[in-house]
């Protein structure tokens, strides 16, 4: 099981706590994590990445192991610590706005 930390508004929509646990088949990448997340929580479709282009929404970032993976290609492997569940993939909203 891997761990994903969601921003507060998405936790509310998905009726979850701060962190969700997911089974992800195959290699662990941003794409495979988000695919699995959207299967378990279909109400989050389109809210993290575009429905069609699958591009990350501009005000969201992906962090893991104190590194920013937001600009990595979606099929770049994520660290082993995320794959083992030791560290979470953190989806975080930009600190901006009023």
């Amino acid at each position: 099981m891997i761990r994903v930390v969601l921003p507060a508004h998405l936790r509310t929509l998905a009726s979850t706590g701060r962190e969700v646990k997911l089974e992800v088949a195959g290699q662990l990448t941003q794409r495979s994590v988000l695919d699995a997340l959207e299967v378990s929580y279909p109400m989050l479709k389109g809210l993290i990445r575009d429905h069609v282009t699958k591009q990350r929404r501009p005000f969201l970032r992906f962090f893991a192991c104190e590194q920013d993976f937001s600009h990595e290609p979606p099929d770049t492997p994520l660290p082993d610590e995320v794959a083992s569940g030791k560290e979470p993939l953190i989806i975080i909203g930009a600190i901006a706005g009023g």
Binding site: P7, H9, P42, M43, L44, K45, H51, R57
Partner: protein, 395 residues
Amino acid sequence: MSKVRVLVGTKKGAFIVSADGKRTQWGVSGPLFAGWEIYHMKGSPADPNRLYASQTSGWFGQVIQRSDDGGKTWHQPGTPAGQPTTTPEGMTKGESNKFVYDASQETGKPLTTHQWYDGTQRPWEFKRVWHLEPSLSDPDTAYAGVEDAALFRTTDGGKSWHELAGLRGHGTGPRWQPGAGGMCLHTILLDPRNPNRIYIAISAAGAFRTDDGGKTWKPINRGLVSQYIPDPNAEVGHCVHRIAMHPSRPNVLFMQKHWDVMRSDNAGDLWKEVSGNLPTDFGFVIDVHAHEPETIYVVPIKSDSEHFPMEGKLRAYRSRTGGNEWEPLTKGLPQRDCYVNVLRDAMCVDSLDPCGVYFGTTGGQVYASADGGDNWSPIVRDLPAVLSVEVQTLP
């Protein structure tokens, strides 16, 4: 006794304000969808317990919410929490937030371009739903006006949305341009006598009408004069802020344009100005009395560069003659140091007798008059900036 339920969308959530038919004691519930922008909430005329809401965010995009019990509980259509994530037919749920322009050969139009602020062409890109208009007869059917301007429809209670692409694909599309607030389709009027006729308005393209249920559209902007665009009499490019109609006379339309209050007596084929003695004819809202089709309301705003009332006095104006002759309505409204705005979807009327009139401000107040505008009082105040106000009259 009758009741009224006022649906208030704000910059930071939604609120429901309720009262009995006397409209003197009000209860407030909310915030719903706290922290999100609620551009619009509206109830189905065919089933007042069915409500739709547009929940949106610069971070997370668009969510459509639906209530089947008058606003007590809400869910994203098709994706109730804790239920299976696919339908029995194997279709993945989670399509209710999906607004994708129809570029298919069979039903759609190629992804066209429109004019950007700098004059260049830019492809349509979905940003948010500005306005939801439930069908007059079917609770599961509703229309959504979106930015970048297009019209979508659901026929399954909001589970899925499909573009009526004939509008975006209208040949004038490359000349449409965003107003300062974005290129939004903000007004949808359904003709109660002719289900094939729909009016819409876009900032800043103008007004359009379909007479074939949305397949083809015609610009209806003749008579509009906008001095701030290269051709003041252009077929499209006018910044229409709002259109209103009385259901008993669907061919008579009233418009608050960027500047000018306008009227058409022939379903938009020709407009004439009825600003008359208004102190300023800039503004956003316009609406029609529920029982007097020639009585209309606006809230004049000083100018396009100063979005607040003149002289710090919040005044609605009423015309009992379908325009031109206006009287200020001030009793109960702040008459000093008031510098709020009233946005385009933030005025409505109930259908009680006497007619109730409501409007919300960017200062977070919702004002109501239970006597057609003679006397006003805040039914709630100190909310986040109000984006939209709708009212349901309930038995």
